[in-house]
């Protein structure tokens, strides 16, 4: 007890030095812990979603881009494929195709145009409001609702993009009709609309009136808080009848089509159908693609571990030196203590108490940090995945 008492007195008196040591050691312990937690969570998250998504149909190109776009709504823009491909899957009778259209965003979140089948497939439940019903409506993920502080009754406006270089295509204001219950997946960060609504944003479908004008925006009707948007369109009961689509739906684009085969055999047959090297489409298995990605992440992690180990050795050597120097500085105290009658063991215990206290505090800090990381890992990993892609 006395040794601890003195150790505390010493550490408190030299608080700045103690703090630096505690933080340095804490960091050395924390970094590998945190990376381990984040990596295993990423692996779990990535793998879980990939495993839950049997097949993805997309245009030929990077399988990773396609997978990231279809699973995590990343900013990759794989070449779109025509809806006829989804219809072909229907006609095959081998699986359910679920198109996703992820070319647009709103408030920094992806607008995911899809069909109602997606909600059933992902088992998404509405926590507030209702599901999609009418063209132009949006159902938002839990994180979107929290981040944008929007809910049922509010509206979102698609970010203006000149992707397709179409004149006269204005951003679309979409009423929020529902908020999804959180799932800790990319679905929490998505703005879901009917794929037909996505086509309206793209300019394939449009109405014949009612672009909200600059003067209305100036009058305070702006819901975007984005000065760059001066005009946008809005689908209302009054103008919905004038909305129409140009061309055949079969030619309308989707970013990817999630394919859920009815059974293993159907999956095998389907995969066989898209093996043609001359074909313009590919059918990928997300589990395999993500497995490769995870392998790569873990190879990088091994490197990271080595770096961490080297840094840890260096830092521990520095800490050891600091401790040793402080022992040297206290030679006088030790001599005094011995003269007064302290055992040699007492002196050692005193110094050990200090070192152990330091390590304990560092460990606590590292553990607290690790606990914080662990608790938020899923959210942060979701964010990292969205960010890094």
């Amino acid at each position: 007890m006395n040794a601890l008492y003195l150790a505390f007195a010493y550490l408190r008196y030299h608080w700045a030095r103690s703090l630096v040591m505690v933080l340095v050691v804490g960091l050395i312990l924390f970094v590998p812990l945190a990376t381990q937690i984040l990596l295993s969570t990423s692996e779990r998250t990535l793998t879980a979603r990939a495993d839950a998504t049997p097949l993805i149909l997309g245009a030929k190109g990077s399988q990773l881009d396609l997978t990231m776009a279809a699973l995590y709504f990343s900013e990759e823009r794989p070449e779109p494929l025509p809806m006829a491909e989804a219809e072909a899957v229907w006609d095959s009778g081998l699986g359910t195709p679920i198109p996703v259209h992820t070319a647009f965003s709103s408030g920094g979140f992806r607008i995911v145009g899809t069909t109602l089948d997606y909600f059933d497939f992902r088992d998404l439940t509405i926590s507030d409001g209702r599901g999609l019903a009418v063209l132009g409506e949006a159902v938002i993920g839990a994180n979107v609702a929290r981040a944008l502080e929007r809910g049922v009754g509010d509206a979102l406006v698609s970010a203006p993009e000149n992707l397709f270089d179409l004149d006269g295509v204005y951003p679309l204001e979409m009423p929020i009709v529902g908020v999804l219950a959180p799932t800790n997946t990319a679905d929490d960060d998505a703005v879901f609309v009917d794929i037909k609504t996505a086509w309206v944003i793209q300019g394939i479908g449009h109405g014949h009136e009612d672009v909200v004008t600059a003067s209305e925006v100036a009058a305070g009707l702006d819901v975007t808080a984005n000065a760059a948007i001066v005009e946008y369109q809005r689908i209302t009961p009054d103008n919905i009848d004038s909305f129409h689509f140009h061309g055949a739906e079969n030619e309308f684009p989707a970013t990817a089509v999630i394919v859920v085969p009815y059974d293993t055999r159907s999956g095998t047959i389907l995969r066989g159908r898209y093996l043609d090297p001359e074909g313009r489409t590919q059918l990928v298995e997300p589990a395999g693609v993500v497995g490769g990605l995870v392998d790569r992440i873990f190879r990088i992690k091994t490197l990271l571990d080595v770096v961490t180990a080297v840094i840890a050795v260096a830092a521990l050597a520095a800490v050891g030196l600091a401790v040793f120097l402080s022992y040297r500085l206290r030679a006088g105290e030790i001599a005094t203590a011995v003269k007064i009658g302290a055992r040699r063991g007492m002196v050692l215990r005193l110094l050990a108490s200090e070192t152990v206290t330091l390590l304990l505090l560092s460990g606590l800090i590292a553990l607290a940090g690790a606990a914080l990381v662990a608790r938020n890992a899923e959210a942060w990993v979701g964010w990292l995945l969205a960010l890094g892609t």
């Binding site: 599901g131 999609l132 019903a133 063209l135 449009h206 919905i240 129409h244």
Partner: protein, 298 residues
Amino acid sequence: MARLLAVLATMLFAAGAAAAPDRPRVVAVNYALAYIAERLLGDAAEVVYPVPDGTDPSFWRPSIADISAIQSADLILLNGAGFATWTAKVSLPRSKLVDTSRGLADRLIATETVTHSHGDGGEHSHEGTASYTWLDPEIALRQAQAVANALKARGLEDEGRVDDRLALLAADLAALDAAADEALGALSTTVFVATHPRYQYLARAYGLTILSLEWEAGAAPTGDELAELRQLVAERGAEVLIWEAEPPEGARAAIAELGLQDAVFPPLAVEPPAADFVAAFAAGIEAIAAAASRAESG
């Protein structure tokens, strides 16, 4: 032990009985498809035609509650061919949708082109499609086959029973076709006028000439509308007017004054009064054939 099993069995039976009212629901966007579905399903599922009485299903706009009820159906039968434009503006589960005219693109009839412009986008055109496909019994049969396939694929009714019922329906439609051939086949010289453009497929199937007006449904014709009809009589030699439904008092007399015969042929997008699809179709054929013969004998 035996008693426990008996109790369990009773409970299971009770649960099964309680679940029985939960019959599958099939939604059809028009009466023709609802009729086909009912014929094919028997009691195996509840067939719902969601459009309220007195509303033209082509122009119906469902409420959110209607949409929600339709979304939760087990199967949603669309007519395609541009019928029921609301279906393009509503979110429906693609896995439940069946477009019954899919694969019949080559049999569809294009209507005149509408050209318009909006904003600074310049002019562009919309090509329309005639929607009342089922008025050609052959197309109706193809649509029935599509419905039958969907019912079987989704296991809403036993395949054998569906096939049996489809055979019966096909026979009825074939009989209808034969009767129409017989009654209308020789009327290629008669000029018909319809109060609405509904009969394109009927006309093509039996070589009829059916001009069309755009009269206010269910109302007595106005002076302008009658003038338009008079012009058709003078310029095109129109002889028989086809009503969609029994016209209001006095309207018939106004037609007769123009020297026209008239007949009622319900286009069967909504349920006709006091008859089913086949019977109403047959009656319509007879009615216009009779009107044509009255016009001949003048």
